[in-house]
Amino acid sequence: MSSEAGKSNMQQDPNGNGMTAVAEANAGLTLAEVRERLKGVKGKKYWRSIDELAGTPEFEAAVAKEFPDQASEWIDPVSRRGFMKLMGASMALAGLAGCTKQPEEPIYPYVKAPEDLILGKPNYFATAMPFPTGGVPLLVKSDAYRPIKVDGNPDHSYNQGSSDVFSQGSLMDMYDPDRSQRATVRGNVADWADFYEAYREKLLASKGNGGEGLYFLTSAITSPTLERQWSEAQKAYPKAKLVQYEPALAGTAFAKGFNPQYSLDKADVIVSIDADFLSGAAYPGFHKLVRDYAKRRKLADGDRTMNRLYAIESTPTTTGMKAEHRLVLRASEIPAFAADLAAAVGGNGASPSGYSWTEEQTKFLNALAKDLKASGGKSVVIPGLYQDPSVSFFAQGINVALGNVGKTVAYGTVAGQASPSDQVADLKSLVADLNAGKVDWLIMLNTNPLYDAPADLEFKSAMNNAKMTVHLGLLPGETGAEAIWHLPAAHYLESWSDVRSYDGTVSIVQPLIEPLYGGRTTHDFFQAMLDEPMVSAYEAVRATWKADLSKGGDFEQNWRKALHAGWIDGTAYTPGTTPTALAAAKAPQPVSKDTFEIIFRPDTNVYDGRYANVGWLQELPRPITSLSWDNAALVSAATLTKLGVEEGDILEITANGRKVKTPVLVAPGHPENSATLYLGYGRQEGRVAGGAGFDAYLLRTSDALHYTTGTVKKVDGKWGLAVTKSHYQDHRGKLAGGRGDGNYSLEWNEADIRGVIRAATLEEFKADPNFANQDTDERSIDHKDATLFPNWQYNGNAWGMSIDMNSCTGCNACIVSCYAENNIAVVGKQQVRIGRNMQWLRIDTYFEGDLSAPRAHFQPMMCQHCENAPCEEVCPVGATVHTPEGLNTMVYNRCVGTRYCSNNCPYKVRRFNYLLYSDFETESLKLMRNPDVSVRSRGVMEKCSYCVQRIQEVKITADKENRAIKDGEIVTACQQACPSQAITFGNINDPGSRVKKLRDDSRSYSLLADINTRPRTKYVAEVLNPNSELAEAPVEHAG
């Protein structure tokens, strides 16, 4: 708790990087070989080598071969951090226990104290995270000038305080100990100054020929200032070339500037044509879309109307799983379906594709078309981001035909990126020029083409034709290792810039901390080409907005206002009504049913690979599959049987003459004879990313970036996948309490019988508003009097929570937020595999109905803070007790670790530090921690605390000001992040509080009420709004 700010002296762990990993799962390596490699090395060096070996897949495979699933204590992060240090730590631990005295602690006071800083009180700064699908306006918590928590900007019209896994994870991205810290030239440590010299010479030299041979390859430019700087640079160097490339977005209509503005809060019928707009920021406008979608499903105070979501999908996503009606189509069928839907509705004169649909599909099509027509102007069709351009074309057509434009959707002068471009074409021409030797300087800014460029372009060999190659990036990565110059980039939390969010509003990106490793940004590169090369990014951004901000009075004032608020007024797009001019497209004919389809998608956790080294996101179980630490080829159960493989077996996928080996995993509701590959894995470098998953980019060619066809075959080997949730088929006969054949999920059937999930259709709900609370054996309700003991009285504050299952879309933002707020440890793949992941909050996913076409129920699950907590009763040392305000507190430093509480917790929400999981060594990670939460050490139980540190903070303030705590004054981390506002926290003794209202709602039910635990967290039962014409959605009936 010493008070040094800003002064960031970071030692790097020199042996962080794992050894080179290979995409092949089972590269042979026996323990014998390991010993061989270790022969001769002794003492500390020995352990270091162990560290290096540990974490590589060969090693894991080797250990696993020797003792399957018992390898944990060798390859968990602990061992990776080194054995000797561990000793020290555990001894120090024993010390803390009070047997010995704690060491003397130094204090580093300031020399001159900054004005605005009150140590112990955090500051909040508005900024924004640049992201290819649109910037995310943020409000960042800073403790002594260290950013320690990233959250959405609550005042911003676009995301209204919500965030997503990427923006939450970007914090750890900044503190990533693997970030490059020095400029290097040909692998030797160099200086920025050296580079600038060379760069400036080059610029001077090429001034004459207008920058001929000067090529810039950047990630998508989202900053208006950057755009301005480039256009000016272009003037100075007309022949210099700029190529933007975003692996995830290249080739999409969005990248070319097609960015409709949806207002789902006005839509009764929402149709997603392979558009996964509910699962994460990978879809443009995610935060707003989810909020608006959820707004129409609250059924708050007497409201009995809600929207209806149709999803046509080629791969299972949370969007489809939330949909009332979900149609599974093979990827190549989607455009045809869009065309036929357009034809049926009469959109832009589309003609039927003539493709022969199955009866079920036709039924779906007709019902959908009918429903759409019926709700013209109050409906919206959303095209898939990664689909054939024709889908966007048809979707727009339908919206126009239905008169949705201007009501539920706006087109027109809205651009997703600052300067849209045909990325694939540009990249191709760049490669062509490279091969033609036209490129003498290739400057790659915040991009990693050697890893993620289309495989057919053979970028690596092409790049070497350039006379000089420069790479700027947070991590060296594949490209940085190859390029002549590698330069450390500044993280967005370290630098000035600006960015547009989905709705066009401009936010200033202001730094929260001095660049940790002296990183620079693209701004500096472009600025260097201009007349005043040394103008800082800060000045550049100010210059860009000087005009706008000077309008309403004094610039300085408005500038400060903009910085403080987090956006610049009046920069939002004006909703256009004229459709975007899209080339009239024709739907490509679907491929035959027996060709094997391969779908590429950016990963839900690591996106295109940029977050691969962020432990939080690696360990985060993905929606639907609950897979962490790896990616896998997702197939349907039927396809799995057809291929004659089991989960975890290795498949060799061949497409366009390229091969990749990948483990296989079942995804419920995946189309037949098709596999989904998530990008961003199979990295070589990084203590976290290294060795995880396989590289799907190896299959990806420039003509088939998001979808292709190929063949698969089983090859030898197994790959241990870390799936955090068991999934069994229910084979029980009626007698054994089962029902349905093996196609149903055992977990779902049990969850249903036990009343864990309670849902009804809108009609059922109208008929019986109390459907969630019939008092039957398993799904009973709280019985206040069912006890021998007098009830404990809670006067004053009584904290409680309500979770709306109808709104939750399972996007995981809450979990990552919880990670950051509560200093939760990352435990590593092996530990997750044996079930020891430490997330305090998990999202339970149950697949209802036939597993080939299920509906999912997402249930955020954390400590329920039971009033009659079973865990407390059995703790022999009273380490978990109840507070007068009804919190179930876990007192870490009292815990001896009997784990009895965990056994006796019906919700299994307690997490135990089986080994020393928290990292007590890595300096940069220490800076990231929340100073208000203890870092738990080995042998201690932990769990959700309702963010007690936030409660205490507010309580103290309120007490000092001699007032009651206001409703909504305390916001838990999960609640804060949630884009669908599914989580509400507050005082249940306060009749006016929102949480009280929600808990009194007829749909509110306590989980496992029949054990009489009296949870303080209640769930609001789901209500679905199916189309009566389609087969009754498989909703389990209440009661």
Binding site: L96, K101, E105, K960, A964
Partner: protein, 291 residues
């Protein structure tokens, strides 16, 4: 066959039995003493500091206000350790060549922090908040002792959990008027030195400290003055940061009806009510200090 044991062995055997018992007891007593001993608690120890800073000289001698250096004590959980600048405010003019102050000047010149050793060092899992204590009537000296009499800083109390609980279970015995927080010499009311307190417009959203006025001279007689650390000494640059509370009631409306207190118990009870001090069971609940 002869005896195996000598006659004396009987006495020996029985004595050893008794002794074993005694030793066990003695051991227990020793360990119990040890865990509370200064060796463990660091009570009264004066660690080496870069500069032998004397609170006695600065507080008693020069009459510096506590918050002149510990600026954030009323606003934040940390009281705050003064930056080198604070020292230089004066020592740029006085004792400019004193060798004792060399580290200060060095720090000022180089911009490197002075590295002090924590004297009051709580374990990292204890979350203590100065501001709430100060605002609710716990004076500096209640925990830190007579700092104004300490030439070198040391830890007066054990700072062990039992010591914290001792007060959290019965705050009344340590509460004092907020106006007396920085009064190192405060001893609580007695029949010789009674305290008069009055409630002044109690209402929600008005900090409790401001709604209670306490004085140490009978307000009935005139010449009333606020009891607080007398500040006749030099007023120093940057000394604007005198606490609102200390100032509170500097002007006492005449119509206030004062109650006279001659014992800490009565005063404590009075203040517990009017400072809205939480109940003992709330104050001794785990999450208050551990998170």
């Amino acid at each position: 066959m002869a005896q195996i044991f000598d006659r004396s062995s009987n006495a020996l055997a029985r004595m050893s039995l008794v002794l074993t018992g005694l030793i066990v007891i003695a051991l227990g007593v020793t360990l119990d003493g040890l865990q509370r001993s200064p060796w463990v608690t660091r009570q009264g120890q004066r660690p080496d500091q870069p500069v032998p800073f004397s609170h006695k000289h600065h507080v008693q001698g020069l009459g510096l206000q506590c918050q002149y250096c510990h600026v954030t004590v009323e606003k934040s959980s940390y009281a705050g350790i003064p930056p080198t600048k604070t020292c230089m405010n004066c020592h740029a003019q006085i004792w400019t060549n004193a060798s004792l102050l060399e580290p200060v000047r060095h720090s000022w010149a180089t911009g490197e922090s002075l590295v002090w050793t924590k004297v009051h060092d709580l374990p990292d899992y204890v979350y203590f908040n100065h501001s709430v204590h100060v605002n609710k009537g716990i004076g500096c000296s209640s925990c830190h002792g007579r700092v104004d009499l300490m030439p070198l800083m040391y830890q007066q109390n054990t700072l062990q959990m039992e010591w914290c609980l001792n007060c959290h279970r019965n705050p009344a015995k340590n509460l004092r008027p907020v106006s007396q927080i920085y009064n190192m010499a405060w001893e609580g009311p007695s029949s010789q030195k009674p305290v008069w307190c009055a409630v002044n417009g109690e209402q929600a959203d008005k900090p409790t400290a401001q709604s209670v006025d306490c004085v140490t001279r009978d307000p009935a007689k005139n010449g009333t003055q606020v009891a607080s650390l007398s500040l006749d000494a030099v007023r120093l640059p940057g000394m604007g940061a005198v606490s609102a509370q200390a100032g509170a009631g500097a002007v006492i409306p005449a119509q206030l009806s004062y109650t006279k207190f001659t014992s800490q118990e009565d005063l404590g009870r009075f203040l517990v009510d009017h400072y809205k001090i939480r109940k003992p069971n709330e104050l001794s609940s785990c999450e208050v200090c551990h998170r």
